[in-house]
Structures are given as C-alpha cells and as structure tokens.
Point group: C2
Chain length 156, copies 2
Amino acid sequence: MNKTTVAALALFVAGTALAQQGPKPEDLIAFRQAGYKFMAWNTGRIKANLEGSYNKEEVIKAANVIAAVAGSGMGALFAPGTEKAVGNMHTHAKPALFTDKEGVGKVAMAFNKEAGELAKVAATGDAAAVKVQFGKLVEACKACHKDYRVEEKHEH
Amino acid sequence: MNKTTVAALALFVAGTALAQQGPKPEDLIAFRQAGYKFMAWNTGRIKANLEGSYNKEEVIKAANVIAAVAGSGMGALFAPGTEKAVGNMHTHAKPALFTDKEGVGKVAMAFNKEAGELAKVAATGDAAAVKVQFGKLVEACKACHKDYRVEEKHEH
C-alpha cells in the first residue's frame, strides 16, 4: 500500500469507529434523565386528572407515553461509564444499580408491566380502575427508587 | 358567615387555586425539553439501526416512544410564561412559536402524523420502508425547527 492508501484506510477506520461509538456517557445520562422527567410530566397529568375533572383522552395520551418510555429499553442508558457524574451531568443512580442485575431486572420488569397495564386500563376510560392501576405504577416507581436512586430534594 | 367559616373558606379557595396551578413555567420548559431529548435518543437509535445491523424490536420500541411523545399533547408545555428563559431554564423556542398558532398547528400535526406512521411501519420490520418513513419524520422535525427553533451548537 502506498502512503495515500494507508492514510485513506486510517481515516476510514477512524470514521467507522466513531460512527459505531454511539452516544457519550454524559449523553446517555442526559437521555435517561429526560425519559424519567418526561414520564414525571405524564404521571403528574394523570394524578391531576384523578384529583380534578377526568379527561379520558388526556389520560390515555399520558399513559401511552409512560408505557412507551418504560418499554423502550432504557436499561441501555445505564451503560458502563455512566455510574458517576461525567462531563456536565450528575446522576442519582446508586452504585447498586450497576451491580445488582437480578434485583434491577425485577423492579424494571415490574415497572414495565404496570405501565403497560395502565395504558390498557386508561383506554377503557374507567377512572376508578385507572386510580387503582396508577397506584400500582407509583408503587413500582418507589420500589426502584428505594434501592437504586439517591433521593434528593433538588433536581439536576 | 362567622369568622371561622370565612377563614376556612379562604383556606379552601387558596388550596384549590394552588392545586389547579399546576407546574411552574420553568417546569413546563424542562418537561418539553425532556420530551425532545428523549425523542432524540430514539431517532438516534433508529438511525443507527438503519446504518448498521437492523434490530426490528429495537426500532419498534424507539418508534413507539416517538409516536407516544409526539401524540402526547406537548402543546400544553408551551403555555404562557414559557416564551423566554425563566428560573434556571433556557428555551430554544422562537417568539413565533407562541403567536403563529396556525403555522405551529400545521407542523405539529404533520410531525404527529409522520411519527404515528413510523410506528406502524416499524411494526412490519421492513427496514427499507422504515428508512423512507424515517426520512419523512426527519423532514417534519426540520420543518418545525426552521421556523420555530433557535438552532444552536450547544445544548442547555
């Protein structure tokens, strides 16, 4: 190979590596926090509907978001390198979240299940049933937060 | 009414007003930015699948998230008071986003439509069809950004 070929090949390899590299750890943290925050808007909307006047369509939309985010495979956003603050991103994740695969799998599956169920119940428009299922979802959130999230009063 | 009744009534009215107040403007900005950021993770995943090896299940999950977020009624997150930086939140929204209701409605509906369509196409597992529909979704993103978003190189 002549010098030009070698240089072109090196550039190609570097380019390929870059393309396959995917998001940086700080981006992964930002993405997962965005997922939880957007879910928070939607759990808040469902709560407001249950406490105030009930709008079936709004609850359906909110429940669909939560189900889609819960089932999106967010586990990939807890990749190695995202255990601690990195770049300009902090994290609320406890170290156990990255080591206790069995326990995390359990709470994550429970959350996914309750979220999927809530979307189904929301579609019926039965506010009383939504209230019961929403309670189960909140319990699933808390079960994970208890063991794997550092609860703080401020938000990053 | 005696004094106690008046005081109780005043407390009740204040409490109701507080409950109905909902999220603060800075929270609304944070929620909408979270929605776009979480969609960005998912558009990135679809792009990576189209450029690399195609995983049908991952694309379905990602497309479902985008459809659910796009159809969530995010317009409510652009409420009065969120036109400019507030609290610790900046915004990329141009002033026109809050005044040009007809134009915004048009691009928002187009985006919602293409996102819903992408979820349907993703479910078939036809990568070539997903590529075409994903292209349409990206165009819908750009159509809105062009008129209503201040494009910057850094993220808030």
